[in-house]
């Protein structure tokens, strides 16, 4: 069965899509900063020698790594307000779901990075009188983070794609707006194809960039 492609309606509705794209970028920036930033804190806590610090961090990681983000978003939207009395909206529910999941995954990346640094570096910091925190901040983390930068950028790319899950609770982003166009114009094929193309056009250069980054990092070693 041949389909007569007609992207004219998509172009006519470009302002509608543009609102969605802005929504996507906005939630991406918020969740990637919270997710990768918070993940650093959880990852360091996970590495801690004190069980009072490492154990809660580990529990956090396991909970959010082993539940689907989609379920988390829906849960924060429908269940969380009833259980806690704290109101959420689509944006907040999606930010919580995506950020917490990203924190959990990136925490493990950071922890692996920290663990990959030889004990000798800890000793060198300690021997000149640095505290645990000083050694971590000045000696261990700069090298560890650089080492896991490729894995972190992969996470970032995942976060960008995960933003479409926010549409399930009605947050205005690209997929949500495409559905709107599709419902009004009866053109789901063009609408959803447009979404796929938009994501590809944004992500393809970014992914190519990460390859360059990886090569540069390897040369630096």
């Amino acid at each position: 069965m041949a389909h007569n492609w007609d992207f004219a309606t998509i172009l006519q509705n470009w302002p509608v899509l543009w609102v969605g794209i802005k929504g996507t970028v906005f939630i991406f920036v918020i969740t990637v900063v919270l997710g990768l930033g918070g993940g650093l804190i959880v990852g360091v806590a996970r590495y801690s020698k004190s069980p009072f610090v490492s154990w809660p961090a580990r529990a956090f990681v396991e909970v959010f790594r082993n539940t689907p983000v989609l379920v988390q978003i829906i849960w924060f939207y429908y269940a969380f307000p009833i259980l806690t009395g704290i109101e959420t909206d689509p944006f907040l529910a999606a930010v919580l779901g995506i950020s917490l999941n990203t924190m959990a995954f990136s925490a493990e990346i950071y922890r692996a990075g920290i663990q990959s640094i030889s004990r000798a570096q800890w000793e060198a910091g300690k021997a000149i009188g640095m505290s645990y925190n000083q050694t971590l901040r000045r000696i261990i983390l700069p090298v560890a983070v650089k080492r896991v930068l490729p894995a972190l950028t992969n996470r970032g790319i995942e976060v960008f794609k995960m933003s479409t899950l926010a549409s399930v609770v009605g947050y205005v982003e690209t997929l949500n707006q495409a559905k709107l166009i599709s419902d009004l114009n009866f053109n789901p094929i063009e609408s959803y194809t447009a979404v796929a193309v938009i994501f590809f056009v944004v992500l393809y250069p970014v992914v190519q960039g990460t390859y360059v980054l990886e090569r540069m990092l390897r040369k630096g070693d």
Partner: protein, 257 residues
Amino acid sequence: MSEILRIENLHKSFGDLEVLKGIDLTVQSGETVVLLGSSGSGKSTMLRCLNFMETPTEGKIHLNGELIGTERGGRMRYREAELCALRARIGMVFQHFNLFPHMTVLENVMEGQVIVLGRAKPEAQDKAMAQLDRVGLAEKATEYPARLSGGQKQRVAIARALAMDPEVMLFDEVTSALDPELVGEVLKTIRQLAEDGMTMLCVTHELGFAYHVANRVLFLHEGTILEQGEPQSILKAPATDRMSEFLEGHSLFKLPD
């Protein structure tokens, strides 16, 4: 001469393994003490207890007359902040250099001064350059460690420790990881420090160095100091069979007649 370091009845166990079984030692200011002993005799452990890289199981350590830690309930207690401050006063150089790979040579030597001692950056930089000059590497200040030879790395590590103005320097087999032709430049640097009056404890297998530079040689065996004395006598005429055997194992070492 004044006493800088006093160690009383130092014990260290790892689980069931007792590595140090009661060490007593007093080091005078400006002294160079060389620790000899076969592998596993506890030389590294002893050095590492002196700057609390390892916490002694028992015993007391005094630096410049002050007791490290406080005694409570018949045991020594140490606060982490106190130990950090102590480590800043004792320089340590490792077998594998352990330079910070993400920092230039200059930054390596400035790091402890700025972060631990709180020195202003211009002052730290001047100090760092002076120490790099002392080890003959001032012109490498802007290089990264990866671009240096082993001998150069080790001299930077020495400068990094010296920049903290340590009261004592600890050297743990600092030439063992080097190619033979690079050993000399590092030993020369350490020898110069000895001549400048630095107080040093060195673990080494370089008996020639011990003979010419040490004021005192200790022979560690199974966690105790089996014998000690001036290098000229103890290396030529050891009192114990253990030490004779140990010295015979070092066939490369030819004592001057």
